[in-house]
Protein backbone atom coordinates (compact mmCIF):
# COMPACT_ATOMS: atom_id res chain seq x y z
CA UNK A 1 0.00 0.00 0.00
CA UNK A 2 1.71 3.12 -1.18
CA UNK A 3 0.68 6.59 -2.04
CA UNK A 4 2.24 8.32 -5.02
CA UNK A 5 1.85 11.97 -4.05
CA UNK A 6 2.46 13.15 -7.55
CA UNK A 7 -0.43 11.00 -8.68
CA UNK A 8 -2.52 12.28 -5.79
CA UNK A 9 -1.93 15.88 -6.86
CA UNK A 10 -2.64 15.01 -10.47
CA UNK A 11 -5.84 13.20 -9.48
CA UNK A 12 -6.98 16.19 -7.42
CA UNK A 13 -6.48 18.41 -10.43
CA UNK A 14 -8.11 15.83 -12.66
CA UNK A 15 -11.10 15.61 -10.35
CA UNK A 16 -11.53 19.39 -10.22
CA UNK A 17 -11.32 19.55 -14.01
CA UNK A 18 -13.87 16.79 -14.25
CA UNK A 19 -16.15 18.69 -11.86
CA UNK A 20 -15.92 21.71 -14.12
CA UNK A 21 -16.44 19.73 -17.31
CA UNK A 22 -19.42 17.85 -15.99
CA UNK A 23 -20.90 21.02 -14.63
CA UNK A 24 -20.38 22.64 -18.01
CA UNK A 25 -21.57 19.76 -20.19
CA UNK A 26 -23.88 17.72 -17.99
CA UNK A 27 -25.49 19.30 -14.96
CA UNK A 28 -26.19 22.74 -16.26
CA UNK A 29 -27.70 21.77 -19.66
CA UNK A 30 -29.75 18.96 -18.20
CA UNK A 31 -30.96 21.02 -15.25
CA UNK A 32 -31.83 23.89 -17.55
CA UNK A 33 -33.64 21.59 -19.93
CA UNK A 34 -35.65 20.09 -17.09
CA UNK A 35 -36.42 23.54 -15.72
CA UNK A 36 -37.57 24.71 -19.14
CA UNK A 37 -39.68 21.58 -19.54
CA UNK A 38 -41.25 22.13 -16.13
CA UNK A 39 -41.88 25.72 -17.09
CA UNK A 40 -43.52 24.65 -20.33
CA UNK A 41 -45.58 22.07 -18.53
CA UNK A 42 -46.63 24.70 -16.01
CA UNK A 43 -47.49 27.03 -18.88
CA UNK A 44 -49.50 24.32 -20.55
CA UNK A 45 -51.26 23.50 -17.34
CA UNK A 46 -52.06 27.15 -16.87
CA UNK A 47 -53.22 27.37 -20.46
CA UNK A 48 -55.35 24.29 -20.10
CA UNK A 49 -56.82 25.69 -16.88
CA UNK A 50 -57.66 28.88 -18.70
CA UNK A 51 -59.16 26.90 -21.55
CA UNK A 52 -61.12 24.85 -19.07
CA UNK A 53 -62.39 28.01 -17.44
CA UNK A 54 -63.29 29.43 -20.84
CA UNK A 55 -65.03 26.19 -21.77
CA UNK A 56 -66.88 26.28 -18.47
CA UNK A 57 -67.99 29.84 -19.15
CA UNK A 58 -69.03 28.86 -22.66
CA UNK A 59 -70.90 25.88 -21.29
CA UNK A 60 -72.75 28.06 -18.79
CA UNK A 61 -73.55 30.58 -21.50
CA UNK A 62 -74.92 27.87 -23.78
CA UNK A 63 -76.81 26.37 -20.89
CA UNK A 64 -78.46 29.69 -20.14
CA UNK A 65 -79.22 30.19 -23.80
CA UNK A 66 -80.75 26.75 -24.03
CA UNK A 67 -82.88 27.44 -20.98
CA UNK A 68 -84.06 30.70 -22.50
CA UNK A 69 -84.87 28.89 -25.74
CA UNK A 70 -86.79 26.24 -23.85
CA UNK A 71 -88.75 28.86 -21.98
CA UNK A 72 -89.50 30.62 -25.22
CA UNK A 73 -90.50 27.37 -26.85
CA UNK A 74 -92.81 26.57 -23.96
CA UNK A 75 -94.36 30.03 -24.22
CA UNK A 76 -94.87 29.63 -27.96
CA UNK A 77 -96.37 26.20 -27.48
CA UNK A 78 -98.68 27.51 -24.78
CA UNK A 79 -99.74 30.38 -27.00
CA UNK A 80 -100.30 28.03 -29.95
CA UNK A 81 -102.31 25.73 -27.70
CA UNK A 82 -104.47 28.61 -26.53
CA UNK A 83 -104.97 29.81 -30.08
CA UNK A 84 -105.87 26.31 -31.23
CA UNK A 85 -108.33 26.00 -28.36
CA UNK A 86 -109.85 29.35 -29.28
CA UNK A 87 -110.02 28.34 -32.92
CA UNK A 88 -111.55 25.04 -31.97
CA UNK A 89 -114.21 26.76 -29.90
CA UNK A 90 -114.95 29.16 -32.70
CA UNK A 91 -115.23 26.30 -35.16
CA UNK A 92 -117.43 24.39 -32.73
CA UNK A 93 -119.66 27.42 -32.29
CA UNK A 94 -119.80 27.99 -36.02
CA UNK A 95 -120.59 24.33 -36.63
CA UNK A 96 -123.24 24.41 -33.92
CA UNK A 97 -124.78 27.57 -35.40
CA UNK A 98 -124.69 26.00 -38.81
CA UNK A 99 -126.28 22.84 -37.47
CA UNK A 100 -128.94 24.90 -35.69
CA UNK A 101 -129.61 26.86 -38.87
CA UNK A 102 -129.78 23.66 -40.87
CA UNK A 103 -132.10 22.15 -38.31
CA UNK A 104 -134.32 25.28 -38.38
CA UNK A 105 -134.32 25.20 -42.16
CA UNK A 106 -135.12 21.58 -42.14
CA UNK A 107 -137.89 22.10 -39.64
CA UNK A 108 -139.23 24.95 -41.74
CA UNK A 109 -139.17 22.74 -44.80
CA UNK A 110 -140.91 20.01 -42.86
CA UNK A 111 -143.48 22.49 -41.70
CA UNK A 112 -143.91 23.73 -45.20
CA UNK A 113 -144.18 20.26 -46.61
CA UNK A 114 -146.57 19.28 -43.87
CA UNK A 115 -148.65 22.40 -44.54
CA UNK A 116 -148.74 21.54 -48.21
CA UNK A 117 -149.49 17.95 -47.46
CA UNK A 118 -152.28 18.91 -45.05
CA UNK A 119 -153.67 21.35 -47.58
CA UNK A 120 -153.67 18.69 -50.23
CA UNK A 121 -155.07 16.17 -47.80
CA UNK A 122 -157.71 18.64 -46.74
CA UNK A 123 -158.76 19.24 -50.31
CA UNK A 124 -158.64 15.65 -51.21
CA UNK A 125 -160.55 14.66 -48.12
CA UNK A 126 -163.08 17.36 -48.71
CA UNK A 127 -163.55 16.24 -52.25
CA UNK A 128 -163.86 12.65 -51.20
CA UNK A 129 -166.06 13.62 -48.32
CA UNK A 130 -168.18 15.84 -50.51
CA UNK A 131 -168.37 13.17 -53.08
CA UNK A 132 -169.30 10.55 -50.52
CA UNK A 133 -171.75 12.90 -48.77
CA UNK A 134 -173.23 13.81 -52.04
CA UNK A 135 -173.66 10.22 -52.98
CA UNK A 136 -174.93 9.38 -49.51
CA UNK A 137 -177.41 12.21 -49.50
CA UNK A 138 -178.42 11.38 -53.00
CA UNK A 139 -178.91 7.80 -51.98
CA UNK A 140 -180.83 8.72 -48.86
CA UNK A 141 -183.21 11.28 -50.46
CA UNK A 142 -184.03 12.34 -53.84
CA UNK A 143 -183.02 15.87 -53.32
CA UNK A 144 -179.96 17.64 -54.29
CA UNK A 145 -177.27 18.30 -51.78
CA UNK A 146 -177.40 22.03 -52.46
CA UNK A 147 -181.03 22.07 -51.61
CA UNK A 148 -180.34 20.44 -48.29
CA UNK A 149 -177.63 22.89 -47.51
CA UNK A 150 -179.89 25.76 -48.42
CA UNK A 151 -182.59 24.33 -46.26
CA UNK A 152 -180.15 23.94 -43.45
CA UNK A 153 -179.16 27.62 -43.70
CA UNK A 154 -182.81 28.63 -43.87
CA UNK A 155 -183.43 26.53 -40.79
CA UNK A 156 -180.55 28.16 -39.00
CA UNK A 157 -181.90 31.59 -39.89
CA UNK A 158 -185.23 30.69 -38.47
CA UNK A 159 -183.70 29.37 -35.30
CA UNK A 160 -181.50 32.37 -34.66
CA UNK A 161 -181.28 33.62 -31.09
CA UNK A 162 -182.25 37.17 -30.33
CA UNK A 163 -178.79 38.52 -29.74
CA UNK A 164 -177.54 37.37 -33.09
CA UNK A 165 -180.68 38.46 -34.74
CA UNK A 166 -180.34 41.95 -33.17
CA UNK A 167 -176.77 42.31 -34.39
CA UNK A 168 -177.74 41.27 -37.86
CA UNK A 169 -180.68 43.65 -37.98
CA UNK A 170 -178.68 46.62 -36.79
CA UNK A 171 -175.74 46.27 -39.12
CA UNK A 172 -175.43 48.55 -42.09
CA UNK A 173 -173.16 46.21 -43.95
CA UNK A 174 -174.54 44.12 -46.73
CA UNK A 175 -175.25 40.51 -45.79
CA UNK A 176 -172.78 38.37 -47.67
CA UNK A 177 -173.98 34.95 -48.66
CA UNK A 178 -171.30 32.69 -49.99
CA UNK A 179 -171.93 29.34 -51.57
CA UNK A 180 -169.68 26.70 -52.93
CA UNK A 181 -172.06 26.13 -55.77
CA UNK A 182 -173.94 28.46 -58.04
CA UNK A 183 -177.48 29.12 -56.87
CA UNK A 184 -180.24 29.01 -59.35
CA UNK A 185 -182.82 31.74 -59.36
CA UNK A 186 -185.40 29.80 -57.37
CA UNK A 187 -183.01 29.14 -54.56
CA UNK A 188 -181.80 32.71 -54.60
CA UNK A 189 -185.36 33.88 -54.24
CA UNK A 190 -185.99 31.47 -51.43
CA UNK A 191 -182.87 32.71 -49.66
CA UNK A 192 -183.77 36.38 -50.18
CA UNK A 193 -187.29 35.84 -48.94
CA UNK A 194 -186.11 34.09 -45.86
CA UNK A 195 -183.56 36.77 -45.06
CA UNK A 196 -185.97 39.61 -45.70
CA UNK A 197 -188.57 37.99 -43.60
CA UNK A 198 -186.40 36.95 -40.79
CA UNK A 199 -183.90 39.84 -40.55
CA UNK A 200 -184.90 42.94 -42.38
CA UNK A 201 -186.97 43.74 -45.37
CA UNK A 202 -184.50 46.08 -46.93
CA UNK A 203 -181.51 44.06 -46.18
CA UNK A 204 -178.86 44.30 -48.83
CA UNK A 205 -177.78 40.87 -49.91
CA UNK A 206 -174.62 40.00 -51.77
CA UNK A 207 -174.52 36.59 -53.28
CA UNK A 208 -171.23 35.10 -54.23
CA UNK A 209 -169.90 31.75 -55.21
CA UNK A 210 -166.79 30.81 -53.21
CA UNK A 211 -165.04 27.57 -54.08
CA UNK A 212 -163.01 27.77 -50.86
CA UNK A 213 -166.07 26.70 -48.96
CA UNK A 214 -165.63 23.38 -50.72
CA UNK A 215 -169.11 22.35 -50.13
CA UNK A 216 -171.44 24.52 -48.15
CA UNK A 217 -173.20 27.80 -47.72
CA UNK A 218 -172.68 30.59 -45.24
CA UNK A 219 -173.93 34.03 -44.34
CA UNK A 220 -171.49 36.58 -43.00
CA UNK A 221 -172.42 39.95 -41.39
CA UNK A 222 -171.70 42.02 -38.31
CA UNK A 223 -168.81 39.79 -37.43
CA UNK A 224 -171.02 36.74 -37.32
CA UNK A 225 -171.14 33.77 -39.52
CA UNK A 226 -174.07 31.44 -40.14
CA UNK A 227 -174.23 28.45 -42.35
CA UNK A 228 -173.15 25.01 -42.98
CA UNK A 229 -170.16 23.94 -44.89
CA UNK A 230 -168.15 20.88 -45.37
CA UNK A 231 -165.19 23.21 -44.91
CA UNK A 232 -166.09 23.48 -41.24
CA UNK A 233 -166.07 19.77 -40.89
CA UNK A 234 -162.93 19.54 -42.90
CA UNK A 235 -161.35 22.31 -40.78
CA UNK A 236 -162.17 20.36 -37.69
CA UNK A 237 -160.94 17.28 -39.46
CA UNK A 238 -157.79 19.13 -40.44
CA UNK A 239 -157.25 20.46 -36.92
CA UNK A 240 -157.72 16.96 -35.64
CA UNK A 241 -155.17 15.73 -38.15
CA UNK A 242 -152.88 18.63 -37.09
CA UNK A 243 -153.28 17.68 -33.50
CA UNK A 244 -152.43 14.08 -34.28
CA UNK A 245 -149.48 15.11 -36.39
CA UNK A 246 -148.29 17.52 -33.70
CA UNK A 247 -148.58 14.90 -31.02
CA UNK A 248 -146.76 12.48 -33.32
CA UNK A 249 -144.07 15.07 -33.99
CA UNK A 250 -143.56 16.19 -30.40
CA UNK A 251 -142.13 12.85 -29.31
CA UNK A 252 -139.21 12.83 -31.81
CA UNK A 253 -138.61 16.54 -31.20
CA UNK A 254 -138.36 15.98 -27.46
CA UNK A 255 -135.92 13.18 -28.12
CA UNK A 256 -133.93 15.39 -30.49
CA UNK A 257 -133.81 18.24 -27.97
CA UNK A 258 -132.59 15.82 -25.29
CA UNK A 259 -129.84 14.58 -27.60
CA UNK A 260 -128.88 18.14 -28.36
CA UNK A 261 -128.63 19.00 -24.68
CA UNK A 262 -126.46 15.94 -24.12
CA UNK A 263 -124.25 16.95 -27.05
CA UNK A 264 -123.73 20.39 -25.52
CA UNK A 265 -122.78 18.78 -22.27
CA UNK A 266 -120.16 16.64 -24.04
CA UNK A 267 -118.78 19.75 -25.73
CA UNK A 268 -118.52 21.49 -22.41
CA UNK A 269 -116.66 18.52 -20.98
CA UNK A 270 -114.36 18.38 -24.01
CA UNK A 271 -113.66 22.11 -23.67
Amino acid sequence: MQIDWLTVAAQIVNFLILVYLLKRFLYKPVTNAMARREERIADRLEESREREAAAERERERLHERMERLEERRDAILEQAREEAEKERRQLMDAARDEADAARARWREEIEHERGGFLEALKRRSAEEFEHMARRALADLADVELEEHMLQALVARLKDLDDETLGDLRQTEEPLAVATSFPLDERRRETLRDTIHRRIRDDADIELASTPSLLCGIELTAAGRRLGWSLADYLDRFASEVDKRLDSGREAPEREASQQETRGHGDDAQAG
Binding site: M1, Q2, I3, D4, W5, L6, T7, V8, A9, A10, Q11, I12, N14, F15, L16, I17, L18, V19, Y20, L21, L22, K23, F25, L26, Y27, P29, V30, T31, A33, M34, R36, R37, R40
Partner: protein
Amino acid sequence: MTISPDQIVLWQWGALHINATLAFTWLIMALLTVGSWLITRRLTTGPELSRWQNLLEVVVTGLRDQIHDVSRRDPAQYLPFVGTLFIFIATSNLLTIVPYYLPPTGSLSTTTALALCVLIAVPLYGVLQQGPLGYLRHYVKPTPLMLPFNLIGEFSRTLALAVRLYGNIMSGTVVVGILVSLTPFLFPIVMQLLGLLTGMIQAYIFAVLAMVYIASASSASRSSGPQRSTGS
Protein backbone atom coordinates in the same frame (compact mmCIF):
# COMPACT_ATOMS: atom_id res chain seq x y z
CA MET B 1 0.90 -9.48 -9.13
CA THR B 2 -0.03 -5.89 -9.76
CA ILE B 3 -1.97 -4.51 -6.86
CA SER B 4 -2.19 -0.87 -7.87
CA PRO B 5 -2.30 0.72 -11.32
CA ASP B 6 0.13 3.28 -9.93
CA GLN B 7 2.82 0.74 -10.41
CA ILE B 8 2.30 0.61 -14.16
CA VAL B 9 4.32 3.52 -15.48
CA LEU B 10 3.58 4.39 -19.05
CA TRP B 11 5.84 7.36 -19.53
CA GLN B 12 8.53 8.88 -17.40
CA TRP B 13 10.65 12.00 -17.69
CA GLY B 14 12.78 12.59 -14.65
CA ALA B 15 10.59 12.72 -11.60
CA LEU B 16 7.49 13.18 -13.75
CA HIS B 17 5.76 10.05 -14.88
CA ILE B 18 2.40 9.01 -16.23
CA ASN B 19 1.07 5.81 -14.76
CA ALA B 20 -2.01 3.72 -15.59
CA THR B 21 -4.04 5.45 -12.89
CA LEU B 22 -3.73 8.80 -14.61
CA ALA B 23 -4.23 7.31 -18.03
CA PHE B 24 -7.43 5.53 -17.08
CA THR B 25 -8.61 8.61 -15.21
CA TRP B 26 -8.18 10.69 -18.33
CA LEU B 27 -9.94 8.00 -20.29
CA ILE B 28 -12.89 8.16 -17.92
CA MET B 29 -12.87 11.95 -18.00
CA ALA B 30 -12.86 11.96 -21.77
CA LEU B 31 -15.61 9.37 -21.88
CA LEU B 32 -17.85 11.31 -19.51
CA THR B 33 -17.17 14.70 -21.04
CA VAL B 34 -17.57 13.66 -24.65
CA GLY B 35 -20.58 11.52 -23.85
CA SER B 36 -22.25 14.40 -21.98
CA TRP B 37 -21.43 16.84 -24.71
CA LEU B 38 -22.78 14.55 -27.42
CA ILE B 39 -26.03 14.06 -25.58
CA THR B 40 -26.57 17.53 -24.19
CA ARG B 41 -25.86 19.40 -27.41
CA ARG B 42 -29.24 18.29 -28.69
CA LEU B 43 -31.46 18.57 -25.67
CA THR B 44 -35.16 18.95 -26.15
CA THR B 45 -37.55 20.62 -23.79
CA GLY B 46 -40.65 19.04 -25.26
CA PRO B 47 -42.44 15.98 -23.98
CA GLU B 48 -40.49 13.65 -26.32
CA LEU B 49 -36.98 12.74 -25.22
CA SER B 50 -34.16 10.77 -26.70
CA ARG B 51 -33.27 7.73 -24.63
CA TRP B 52 -29.83 9.14 -23.82
CA GLN B 53 -31.25 12.42 -22.67
CA ASN B 54 -33.73 10.45 -20.62
CA LEU B 55 -30.84 8.50 -19.05
CA LEU B 56 -28.99 11.70 -18.17
CA GLU B 57 -32.13 13.26 -16.75
CA VAL B 58 -32.78 10.17 -14.64
CA VAL B 59 -29.19 10.28 -13.33
CA VAL B 60 -29.25 14.01 -12.60
CA THR B 61 -32.72 13.86 -11.05
CA GLY B 62 -31.68 10.89 -8.89
CA LEU B 63 -28.57 12.72 -7.70
CA ARG B 64 -30.57 15.85 -6.92
CA ASP B 65 -33.13 13.84 -4.99
CA GLN B 66 -30.46 12.03 -3.00
CA ILE B 67 -28.68 15.28 -2.18
CA HIS B 68 -31.96 16.87 -1.17
CA ASP B 69 -32.87 13.91 1.00
CA VAL B 70 -29.58 14.17 2.86
CA SER B 71 -29.17 17.93 3.10
CA ARG B 72 -32.81 19.11 3.05
CA ARG B 73 -31.56 22.02 1.00
CA ASP B 74 -31.51 23.15 -2.58
CA PRO B 75 -29.25 20.58 -4.26
CA ALA B 76 -28.02 22.93 -6.98
CA GLN B 77 -24.86 24.07 -5.18
CA TYR B 78 -23.84 20.55 -4.09
CA LEU B 79 -24.69 18.78 -7.31
CA PRO B 80 -21.45 19.40 -9.26
CA PHE B 81 -19.14 18.21 -6.49
CA VAL B 82 -21.13 15.32 -5.03
CA GLY B 83 -22.57 14.29 -8.39
CA THR B 84 -19.13 14.20 -9.99
CA LEU B 85 -17.81 12.11 -7.11
CA PHE B 86 -20.54 9.55 -7.67
CA ILE B 87 -20.36 9.52 -11.45
CA PHE B 88 -16.58 9.30 -11.56
CA ILE B 89 -16.36 6.52 -9.01
CA ALA B 90 -19.28 4.62 -10.47
CA THR B 91 -17.92 4.83 -14.02
CA SER B 92 -14.47 3.89 -12.83
CA ASN B 93 -15.84 0.83 -11.05
CA LEU B 94 -18.29 -0.25 -13.75
CA LEU B 95 -15.59 -0.28 -16.41
CA THR B 96 -13.88 -3.17 -14.63
CA ILE B 97 -15.81 -5.49 -16.95
CA VAL B 98 -13.62 -4.20 -19.78
CA PRO B 99 -10.60 -6.45 -20.27
CA TYR B 100 -7.20 -5.04 -19.37
CA TYR B 101 -8.86 -2.14 -17.59
CA LEU B 102 -7.69 -1.27 -14.11
CA PRO B 103 -9.95 0.99 -12.10
CA PRO B 104 -8.26 4.23 -10.92
CA THR B 105 -10.28 3.86 -7.71
CA GLY B 106 -8.22 0.76 -7.02
CA SER B 107 -5.28 3.11 -6.47
CA LEU B 108 -4.83 4.53 -3.02
CA SER B 109 -3.50 7.69 -4.62
CA THR B 110 -6.82 8.30 -6.37
CA THR B 111 -8.97 7.58 -3.33
CA THR B 112 -6.67 9.74 -1.24
CA ALA B 113 -7.04 12.56 -3.75
CA LEU B 114 -10.83 12.24 -3.65
CA ALA B 115 -10.85 12.09 0.17
CA LEU B 116 -8.64 15.18 0.27
CA CYS B 117 -11.09 16.93 -1.99
CA VAL B 118 -13.86 16.07 0.47
CA LEU B 119 -11.65 17.17 3.34
CA ILE B 120 -11.26 20.56 1.70
CA ALA B 121 -14.84 20.82 0.45
CA VAL B 122 -16.39 20.27 3.85
CA PRO B 123 -14.97 23.42 5.51
CA LEU B 124 -15.31 25.30 2.26
CA TYR B 125 -19.06 24.72 2.08
CA GLY B 126 -19.31 25.28 5.83
CA VAL B 127 -17.61 28.65 5.62
CA LEU B 128 -19.69 29.61 2.61
CA GLN B 129 -22.88 28.74 4.43
CA GLN B 130 -22.17 30.07 7.92
CA GLY B 131 -19.13 32.30 7.65
CA PRO B 132 -15.66 31.44 9.04
CA LEU B 133 -16.55 31.94 12.69
CA GLY B 134 -19.80 30.12 12.44
CA TYR B 135 -18.04 27.19 10.86
CA LEU B 136 -15.10 27.11 13.27
CA ARG B 137 -17.44 27.33 16.24
CA HIS B 138 -18.72 23.84 15.67
CA TYR B 139 -15.27 22.40 16.41
CA VAL B 140 -15.59 23.53 20.05
CA LYS B 141 -19.07 22.15 20.48
CA PRO B 142 -20.47 20.93 22.74
CA THR B 143 -17.38 21.96 24.75
CA PRO B 144 -13.87 23.22 23.84
CA LEU B 145 -12.53 20.02 25.34
CA MET B 146 -13.90 18.26 22.27
CA LEU B 147 -11.69 20.29 19.88
CA PRO B 148 -8.88 17.68 19.56
CA PHE B 149 -11.41 14.89 19.11
CA ASN B 150 -13.31 16.84 16.47
CA LEU B 151 -10.05 17.48 14.61
CA ILE B 152 -9.04 13.85 14.87
CA GLY B 153 -12.50 12.82 13.69
CA GLU B 154 -12.20 15.15 10.71
CA PHE B 155 -8.99 13.52 9.52
CA SER B 156 -9.85 10.02 10.49
CA ARG B 157 -13.08 10.01 8.51
CA THR B 158 -11.15 11.35 5.52
CA LEU B 159 -8.69 8.53 5.92
CA ALA B 160 -11.59 6.12 6.29
CA LEU B 161 -13.15 7.40 3.07
CA ALA B 162 -9.94 6.88 1.15
CA VAL B 163 -9.06 3.50 2.54
CA ARG B 164 -12.62 2.13 2.35
CA LEU B 165 -12.94 2.82 -1.33
CA TYR B 166 -9.43 1.73 -2.10
CA GLY B 167 -9.79 -1.46 -0.07
CA ASN B 168 -13.03 -2.51 -1.61
CA ILE B 169 -12.05 -1.91 -5.19
CA MET B 170 -8.49 -3.14 -4.87
CA SER B 171 -9.64 -6.27 -3.07
CA GLY B 172 -12.17 -6.96 -5.81
CA THR B 173 -9.45 -6.71 -8.43
CA VAL B 174 -7.06 -8.84 -6.41
CA VAL B 175 -9.68 -11.49 -5.68
CA VAL B 176 -10.53 -11.78 -9.36
CA GLY B 177 -6.80 -11.93 -10.20
CA ILE B 178 -6.24 -14.71 -7.69
CA LEU B 179 -9.32 -16.63 -8.84
CA VAL B 180 -8.29 -16.35 -12.47
CA SER B 181 -5.00 -18.01 -11.59
CA LEU B 182 -6.71 -20.73 -9.52
CA THR B 183 -10.03 -21.43 -11.29
CA PRO B 184 -10.02 -19.58 -14.56
CA PHE B 185 -13.62 -20.51 -15.42
CA LEU B 186 -16.90 -19.23 -14.03
CA PHE B 187 -15.80 -18.11 -10.59
CA PRO B 188 -13.95 -14.98 -11.73
CA ILE B 189 -17.12 -13.92 -13.58
CA VAL B 190 -19.22 -14.32 -10.48
CA MET B 191 -16.72 -12.34 -8.50
CA GLN B 192 -16.63 -9.70 -11.21
CA LEU B 193 -20.42 -9.39 -11.04
CA LEU B 194 -20.09 -9.04 -7.31
CA GLY B 195 -17.41 -6.45 -7.98
CA LEU B 196 -19.84 -4.44 -10.13
CA LEU B 197 -22.34 -4.44 -7.29
CA THR B 198 -19.66 -3.53 -4.77
CA GLY B 199 -18.39 -0.78 -7.04
CA MET B 200 -21.84 0.83 -7.36
CA ILE B 201 -22.42 0.56 -3.63
CA GLN B 202 -19.02 2.11 -2.90
CA ALA B 203 -19.69 4.97 -5.29
CA TYR B 204 -23.01 5.60 -3.58
CA ILE B 205 -21.48 5.37 -0.10
CA PHE B 206 -18.63 7.70 -0.97
CA ALA B 207 -20.92 10.34 -2.47
CA VAL B 208 -23.52 10.12 0.28
CA LEU B 209 -20.92 10.29 3.04
CA ALA B 210 -19.30 13.31 1.41
CA MET B 211 -22.75 14.91 1.27
CA VAL B 212 -23.40 14.03 4.91
CA TYR B 213 -20.11 15.59 6.00
CA ILE B 214 -20.77 18.71 3.99
CA ALA B 215 -24.35 18.95 5.22
CA SER B 216 -23.38 18.49 8.85
CA ALA B 217 -20.71 21.15 8.52
CA SER B 218 -23.12 23.49 6.73
CA SER B 219 -25.93 23.07 9.22
CA ALA B 220 -24.07 23.04 12.54
CA SER B 221 -26.66 25.37 14.01
CA ARG B 222 -29.30 22.74 13.35
CA SER B 223 -28.76 20.15 16.05
CA SER B 224 -31.16 17.83 14.30
CA GLY B 225 -29.07 17.81 11.18
CA PRO B 226 -28.68 14.57 9.24
CA GLN B 227 -26.50 12.03 10.98
CA ARG B 228 -25.36 8.98 9.14
CA SER B 229 -23.20 6.09 10.17
CA THR B 230 -19.70 6.35 8.82
CA GLY B 231 -19.10 2.64 8.82
CA SER B 232 -19.13 0.64 5.64
